[in-house]
């Protein structure tokens, strides 16, 4: 009966400590929940920052300017020769148009201040109008011209507007003009088409991501074309054909390690081998795509092998029992069943490749490239590198452009991830 008393004492002691133990339990649980919330909080903070800083990047300030296509300036000799029309001093016309409204006197510094309000795109717009139809020469018309980045910033409220404020990007005189324009209803915000159709530019209001998007597209196309067949073939070989021996062990160890090699090292490989030995063009999507292909090859192989492993052996046995050859077993049964898994892995690999930056810096993708690439051999930027370049640019307006570009990049990534998740959920089989 001694045990009974011991048991009774147990109950008592346990009860006495229960409060403290449950408090510890609660604390622990809160720690866990807090960790998740903090992690999620960072995600929200990051996305919030990006969206808050970047959404205005999709808008662009424009000002209405009455310009005259002055024949004296454009084509003094009346030749209408395209060369002459092209080379004319359109910026002066824009300046004159602005000056006519805002500054009666013509002092030099005022005119400089004035031309700092509009983007050079205005002059370009006029040039194109003349080139398209020389008949406009000699007429006057009101055009909505793209504002300069500084005016854009102030008008959007991302730079101070009070006269004399610290960190002013426009001087007092320019701020006065802005008020004038606003009063006259000659300033507005419009959708920033240039951002989606343009290439890089040193002028923030002219900078666009299309060049980088096309560059990314070309790079990823090269990556996909190389890494997908190679990855699938390797996975199939290792999982379905290779005997277990030293050689296949070596390959396996290799793949596992390559998956964890820092991407900047792949950049060094690209520089030393693809550029210096094979003389692929610098800054080109071919070189970039090749490097990225090597980077995501292990991912694809590992995902592919997992997908192949998930196909039950009974399927293979059934096919073998009917007299299918090993390749037929793979081609008719195993691969089709493993394909969704392989595609998921490939999409995730591509998503990673889309965001890779460091190795591309190594192969010269940091150059200033304006033209939209026409082929994978042309120099081009890619989205993440463009983001890096803009993030490092000193103009305040590039912060907004950087954030907007990040939004576009994340959009692509989310789309790719969703596609992968959708694929996984749709085709995932539990055997």
């Amino acid at each position: 009966m001694a045990e009974i008393t011991v048991a009774a004492r147990t109950a008592e002691t346990v009860a006495a400590r229960l409060g403290r133990r449950y408090a510890a339990e609660r604390r622990f649980r809160i720690l866990g929940l807090a960790s998740i919330l903090i992690s999620a909080g960072f995600l929200v903070l990051l996305l919030g920052t990006v969206v808050a800083k970047g959404w205005t990047g999709f808008l662009q300030t424009q000002i209405a300017v009455e310009v005259s296509f002055d024949a004296e300036v454009i084509d003094p000799d009346g030749t209408r020769a395209p060369d002459v029309l092209d080379a004319a001093d359109y910026p002066a016309l824009v300046r004159n148009g602005l000056a006519a409204r805002l500054v009666p006197d013509g002092d030099r510094s005022a005119r400089r201040d004035l031309s700092a309000l509009v983007s050079t795109m205005g002059a370009e717009q006029m040039r194109r109008m003349v080139a398209a139809d020389p008949k406009v020469i000699g007429t006057r018309t009101t055009l909505w011209l793209t504002a300069s980045d500084k005016l854009d910033m102030v008008y959007k409220g991302q730079a101070p507007r009070e006269v004399g404020a610290a960190g002013n990007v426009l001087n007092d005189r320019q701020l006065g003009w802005l008020a004038q324009l606003e009063q006259a209803g000659q300033i507005r915000k419009a959708f920033n088409l240039q951002f989606f159709t343009g290439g890089d530019s040193r002028a923030p209001e002219q900078a666009g991501i299309w060049g980088a998007v096309v560059g990314s597209f070309f790079s990823l196309a090269v990556t996909l074309l190389i890494s997908f067949p190679l990855g699938v073939a390797t996975a199939v070989y290792l999982e379905e054909f290779a005997a277990k021996n030293r050689w296949t062990d070596l390959i396996e160890v290799n793949i596992n390690n390559l998956a964890a090699v820092p991407s900047v090292v792949f950049g060094l490989l690209g520089l030393a081998v693809f550029l210096n030995v094979f003389h692929l063009p610098r800054s080109s999507p071919v070189a970039g795509g090749l490097v990225l292909a090597l980077i995501c090859l292990p991912t694809i192989i590992i995902a592919g092998r997992a997908a192949l492993k998930a196909v039950p052996p009974s399927i293979r046995q059934a096919a073998a029992g009917l007299g299918a050859s090993p390749l037929q077993i793979v081609a008719h049964h195993v691969l089709p069943l493993a394909m969704p898994g392989m595609l998921t892995g490939t999409i995730l690999g591509m998503a990673r490749a889309l965001g890779e930056t460091a190795p591309l810096l190594m192969i010269g993708m940091v150059a200033f490239i304006v033209d939209i690439p026409k082929s994978p051999l042309d120099p081009s930027a890619v989205l993440p590198v463009q983001i890096y370049l803009w993030a490092g640019s000193s103009e305040r307006a590039f912060v907004e452009k950087t954030s907007a570009a990040i939004m576009v990049l994340l959009l692509f990534l989310v789309a790719m991830n969703m596609a992968a998740i959708w694929l996984r959920n749709k085709f995932e089989r539990r055997w």
Partner: protein
């Protein structure tokens, strides 16, 4: 159909106990009394709900998503599923030994000391040492492990591991010990040792044991309950159940016609 024993003497007592796992009902309306100081064996074909019943007693089913228990189950007359009852305390009173020996990946000493430590049963190291030694002794393991208390518990043989698990359960000084097929992963010699141990423990603890082996039930238990498809078919003295079952189902099972 059931043979009730007087309520006062029963340690554990189920009335109208139903258990659902999601849609599936695993136990139907069980009325069962388990007397103190005896070994009660639960037998029946696979999937009949033996483990489910056992795990109701220390509310291990709480951990299973979607498990729902209705009806009443009392321990010493107080409802186990009462909201005011603390499950930690309950489990300190009701120890459990599992089918597969599951020593913690710690030293043998720490394995046994674990329960007393979390419940604060020992005031000082000496007391803890005493509890550990005592429990190992009772589990008949002390002689075998005395010299290597600081080695890992997972390094022991299967039978030793299971006895270690029993020692671990005893160390908390529970009133009831539940055992779910404690010998099914052991070889015959280890099984014999554990059975012997159960027999010795009977004096101080109420023991409920689930077993697949009718021989084992016959060897170690005083009472036997036969489950079938989630229903309690018959319960009674072990002797009687095995020699003179009342229900034809029981008869069929113990003579090996099904299961």
């Amino acid at each position: 159909m059931n043979q009730f024993i007087p309520r006062g003497t029963s340690k554990i007592s189920a009335r109208g106990l139903n258990v659902h796992y999601g849609e599936k009902q695993a136990l139907h309306d069980i009325d069962l009394d388990i007397p103190a100081g005896e070994v009660t064996a639960l037998i029946g074909p696979s999937g009949c709900g033996k483990s489910t019943f056992l795990r109701c007693i220390n509310r291990m089913n709480d951990m299973v998503d979607g498990a729902k228990v209705t009806g009443s189950l009392t321990l010493d007359g107080s409802d186990v599923y009462d909201r005011s009852l603390d499950v930690v305390q309950l489990r300190a009173r009701v120890g459990m030994v599992f089918q597969k020996p599951n020593p913690f990946p710690k030293s043998i000493y720490d394995n046994v000391a674990y329960g007393p430590r979390i419940h604060g049963l020992a005031r000082d190291q000496a007391e803890l040492d005493e509890i550990v030694m005592n429990s190992l002794e009772k589990a008949g393991l002390l002689a075998e492990v005395e010299s290597r208390l600081s080695e890992s518990g997972t390094g022991l043989s299967g039978g030793q591991q299971q006895r270690l698990c029993i020692a671990r359960a005893i160390a908390v000084a529970p009133e009831v010990i539940l055992m779910d097929e404690p010998c099914s992963a052991l070889d015959p010699i280890a099984t014999a040792k554990v059975e012997e141990l159960i027999d010795e423990l009977r004096d101080n603890y109420t023991i409920v044991i689930v077993t697949h082996s009718m021989q084992q039930a016959a060897r170690v238990s005083q009472r036997t309950a036969f489950f079938h498809l989630g229903k309690l078919i018959e319960v009674g003295g072990t002797e009687e159940i095995f020699t003179n079952p009342k229900e034809p189902l029981t008869q069929g099972y113990i003579t090996g016609r099904f299961g």
